[in-house]
Amino acid sequence: MTIKMSDQQDIKQEFNITVYTENQIGLLNRIAIIFTRRKINIDSLNTSPSEIEKIHRFNIVINESEEVVRKISRQIEKQVEVLKVYYHTNEDVIWQELALYKVPTDVIAEKASVERLLRENGARAVVIRKDYTVFETTGHREETDALIKVLQPYGLIEFVRSARVAIIKDSEGFNSKLREFERLEPGEDVIENEYLNRGQKVFTM
């Protein structure tokens, strides 16, 4: 699995940092302060159990240069309860955010155009009550934002959006690597090194 090395390492862009960790109290703080120490804002943070029991996965989105992201990633990986850190640009991942919209049911029922708009925006109803209906949609920020604009005139009661979850485009994914980690004794896992394949401008994980 490879990451394209950006030629312009000092240009800021969105990076998706994936962190695999033990499930440990206080680790979120330990990871968060690595960003706050450098006065870097975390734009999005998702943490949840991974496909492997007792291993958690963080998805962190920040807007920074690749050089800073690499240094931060190594400092995160240095934490005792962190198993592995990867980072990717938006181009290297498929990502989604989930959004929920609460709107008055009478308006939805009366206005056929709303239904069409929802269909066009790929939303679906999660709950329909007499007083309100909750719709759900997933997509990129612009997509979930677009539906807010659409629903606002019809009396949007409440809106919430999740953090970003991202999955890498590469066909191998992290799973095989993680399973391997489970199997291996520490030390047998070779640390990746971007110098190894500098010629091809890729680095092997």
């Binding site: 960790t21 033990e22 109290i25 206080g26 703080n29 330990r30 302060i33 120490r37 690499r70 240094k71 190594r74 400092q75 990986e77 240095k78 005792v80 309860e81 962190v82 198993l83 004794e185 520490p186 030390g187 047998e188 896992d189 070779v190 640390i191 090194n193 110098y195 190894l196």
Partner: protein, 584 residues
Amino acid sequence: METQTITQETVETAEQMATTPSVEVSGSVALLEALLTEGVDTIFGYPGGAIMPIYDALYDYKEKLNHILVRHEQGGIHAGQGYARTSGKVGVVFATSGPGATNLVTGLADAQIDSTPLVCITGQVFAHLLGTDAFQETDVINITTPVTKWNYQVTDANEIPEAIAKAFYIAKSGRPGPVLIDITKNAQIQKFEYKGYEPCNHIRSYRPKPIVRKEYVAQAAELINSAKKPFVLFGQGVILGSAEQEFKAFIEKSGIPSAWTVLGAGAIPTDHPLNVGMLGMHGNYGPNVLTNECDVLIAIGMRFDDRVTGRLDKYAKQAKVIHLDIDPAEIDKNVKSTVPVWGDCKETLPMLTELIVPNDHSAWLAKFAEYTKAEVEQVIDAELNPTEGEMTMGEVINQLNKLTNGEAIIVTDVGQHQMVACRYAQLNKTRSNVTSGGLGTMGFALPAAIGAKFGAQDRTVVAVIGDGGFQMTLQELGTIMQSGVDVKIMILNNRFLGMVRQWQELFNERRYSFVDIQSPDFVRLASAYGIAGKIVNEREELQGALKEMLDHKGSFLLEVMVTKENNVFPMVPQGCSVSEIRLK
């Protein structure tokens, strides 16, 4: 009674326990048994409400664990640091909750940045009171997270053996660092089925050292073999990795001039022919200037601190950089490396030594000698051998060298005297230099010297301290008095906060803003603690007084009055390149 606290008479050693049926003990006893199994002999601490059950258990372990009662928790942790630095073992510190724990923070930050292995045990309020703003409750885990390698809160006695085992393993393995274990009072009291203590040697998410990649070692060797002007920079990594012999073999075979960071001092003897001096802001002339002339820079167990590199964009730009470090996060952090050699230098150095061809860079070495000559003429001679005027800090260190023959452990505080002592102290042995490098903690030296002596009881320990720094932790004279530890205290008194004054003189048009500091009568102060002392005003008395201090049985405080407005040179001014080093 079965519920009684088990003492050393009733508790067998942990080893025996492992094979015998489990015993019911308190969390506190389990903690002390764990410390004994880890080989702990000395604890620096201060009791308080939330750590009382541990101190109660300690009452029965007095014969096995030497607890040194300090006068302030900051003193306790600096003593732990001094102990760790001279002994190579893990320093152990006890403190109570709330203010006791917060007083550890400076020492934790110091140990974190200087990679000193420590295990700090703090008491905490009862688990059911956590988060209620209970008396002496502080969120110690969150306060100490940025300044510890690892920390953990124990709320159940059953967790204690494993938590302590992990603490010791993490503190001392890989790149060492401070660990804090916060134990709630209920867990200290709670009785549980103790099944013995098993040291930890594996944590699945933690890799203490990266795997050595042979291809990089080979690439590094190739670069070294083809280098015309190679230059070695070494740091504390050589000492922490106990790789002094491996390092010596490497430089002696390659013939490469080698310079040290403040924390690397003493890894090879000061007078080793390939030791060309100190790096950085107040380092030697040659090593700084020639950093920007070498063709291959080999950094070993050092982290390119800004005080070493000066202006980064003008630092060794002409050189190919080989960086040997155990911590992957250090590679490329400040200086881009051409060849990264990840791993423990105790392993990587012999691999490298085997691949390099013997060499003799005598012409290149001679270049260092030229710079040394200029530095001696323009700076060092006047500093070390003045014949008139007030005494200089350098001449005090120089006279001390003559009497100790470089065999003493030198503990320094922070400021001008620190730079002077590091520049001029002769160190024949490793683990002889104890100072606060990364954090620059004034007040470090006196307590650290106490710990240093406990860590190396057969060696002479001399604490070199300024008049400012001494007043930050002088209450530890009480610790010296009560423990009877033999520490030689040398106050170099210039009646100023000298380093700040120097900067104000050079960069703030002599606007001496709050650097004029008054001091008590230090000798009388020592006397109040039953510590012998002497003040020296005249050059003629210096040698005799130093001799008296060293010969004195027990601690001794020597106050030496030195020039008020002397500056430490050479100096790389902030924001300048290392090659712009000033001699005056």
